[in-house]
Subunit: 346 residues, 2 copies
DNA sequence: GTGAAAGCGCTAACAA
DNA sequence: TTGTTAGCGCTTTCAC
């Protein structure tokens, strides 16, 4: 009687024996590497299918690749990220690579470091960092250890590629839209950046700067008015409270993110202001809920899917050639006008 | 001159040499295993710090554990999942385990299989399946290969643990709430389950059944009315259209999910119905957007954080003892009344 | 084109 | 308590 094999997983050795070839041959077939005749490939493929063999990624990783790509998200809650993920997985679907997401605790630099370290420890072949919080030096350190693409953060580097949305142009779209409706007193609610080292690289800073430039370009330099809070619902609520306390209120508010606009709408509703009758509100990100009927928020749509797709493409290129010149891609956002913006009261 | 070490990563051998001990000793310290004196531990710890050593997870995985937990989500877009993730990572934060999320393409059984296979290939120590679509046999197969906890799917198994919300009780909460306000004609919009094999195990089926039972318990058996569409905004819109076409409309709608309620609200707004003046609407999941001012949707809150926390706890127990008896946990949801429900017109 | 053999970095038996 | 040694499953020279 045969000893009852205790659920041992099929290995490359089993495949080699079953196909009557060497393990080297099997390995070559697995990697589509040079040095295996068509007949051999066929034979090996058949054995793989018959045995239901699946390579052990850990073992592969010891010498070669793990065929694993890590994506680090600062905050899974942000409804903008799924678009990026879809773009990445879409591009990678046809390849052997598998994507795993690392949950970076909401706005927590420590958690981000932990996740990226964990990915490096696990021998991931490449990493996509989405809107990372880490200082630039840290990003370059990561990139020196593993092929890296940084998404949603401005500022170029020689060691990693970047894919961003043109946040400055996006802010212009909003300001131009509001000015086109007849608004002059347009206030921007921004996310206050605490860390000066990464400051200019963050999208929020770019949006604020885009707001300033667009206002100036329209001859509204005098009207430039920025309230600093944070990109949260709470931040929007506080910002709106500040505006409500003024004697001369703006006729339109450009919130730096949709979630901020939610807080603004809450505050205005509480104060009995009607939107857009008394005041217009616009957001940024075109999150899922912006489209919901009761909200119907004018917003800016970042090309999320395209961003992810390009990030994955650049990462594959960098995995293939770690020393290629770094690329910087800037994609264009579009305005999605909805029912929270209208001409000001005459 | 020394040869410029080409960025070689520090290994256990380097640590052992630097601390003047054997690699076994280092390994024991890493795993807090038995058989290392305090002095030795201290010496090794120091060497680890001085060299900045981090163990290679792939190599560890070849013999022992990878210290990696995989979480499979059916759809990253569902705003209910972040709560679960937080619960899981919270519980695991104090341990050596790292969580990675596998992006299961929205409602795609094939994608789910691909992700789970990938996790097994990568030697993950445990897997949490959130509301999986796979047939039961497949779940048991996965569980036979790696410690598994299934979340958000009813139906017990001997090989995996389950953590669910009491969806039947949740449905009762909604029906009781509406009936308490004076409603009798309460319609439920359900997700139509195509696959009969998993049918009864899915939360949507439980919610529909809970609705029926609650109606009967209130003596409203005659009024039981279920519209079958899907748990999407589109599904809600279609379901509402069907109701609008009737001569005798319900006075309240219980949507099986918040996202369904969004579609319902859209349709009612288009038809000029006011909510809750003309008709009340309730959802399920208490998603982030349900709380937004302009929406303010009455909903059912699942104990997401608690679900995740317990799932992680059970998984750790199962990793420690693969043959322990399987556990089934059912947590209680709560009702969150908001402004979309009110007494019917007299 | 093919395969034997030497590792990759770690853990687990086993000896000392 | 400590160290020696043999793999884990794969990839990669390097002979043939």
């Amino acid at each position: 009687m045969e000893p009852p094999a205790p659920q041992r997983r099929v290995t490359i050795v089993d495949v080699a024996r079953h196909a009557q070839v060497s393990t080297t041959a099997v390995s070559k077939v697995l990697r589509n590497a040079y040095g295996a005749s068509p007949e051999m490939r066929a034979k090996v493929r058949r054995a793989i299918d018959e045995l239901g063999y699946r390579p052990n990624a850990a073992a592969r990783g010891m010498r070669g690749q793990t065929y694993t790509i890590g994506v680090v998200l600062p905050d899974i809650r942000n409804p903008f990220f799924p678009e990026i993920i879809d773009g990445i997985t879409g591009r990678l679907a046809e390849t052997e690579y598998q994507v795993f997401l690392g949950p970076g605790g909401c706005d927590d630099e420590k958690a981000e470091a932990r996740v990226t370290d964990a990915m490096i420890d696990r021998g991931m072949d490449g990493i996509v960092l989405v809107a990372p919080l880490s200082p630039r030096a840290r990003l370059e350190h990561i990139a020196s250890l593993v092929p890296t693409v940084v998404v949603g953060r401005h500022g170029h580097s020689l060691v990693y590629d970047t894919v961003t949305d043109d946040d400055m142009a996006g802010a212009s779209l909003v300001v131009d839209h509001l000015a086109g409706l007849g608004h002059r007193r347009i206030t921007h609610i921004e996310h206050h950046e605490t860390d000066p080292t990464r400051s200019a690289e963050m999208p929020n800073a770019q949006r604020a700067e885009g707001y300033r430039r667009a206002m100036r370009a329209l001859g509204l330099a005098e009207e430039i008015d920025i309230v600093s809070t944070s990109y949260t619902q709470q931040g929007g609520y506080q910002g709106a409270q500040e505006l409500l306390a003024r004697t001369c209120r703006p006729t339109a508010v450009f919130a730096g993110a949709d979630i901020v606009a939610m807080g603004v709408l809450d505050a205005f509703a509480e104060a009995g202001l009607s939107v857009p009758g008394d005041i217009s509100v616009a957001g940024y990100d075109n999150t899922t809920f912006a489209a919901f009927g009761p909200i119907s928020l004018t917003s800016v749509d970042q090309a999320g899917h395209e961003i992810g797709d390009n990030a994955a493409r650049l990462l594959l290129e960098r995995i293939a050639d770690r020393h290629k010149a770094s690329a910087q891609l800037k994609l264009s956002p579009t305005l999605v006008p909805r029912r929270t913006t209208a001409p000001p009261r005459p």
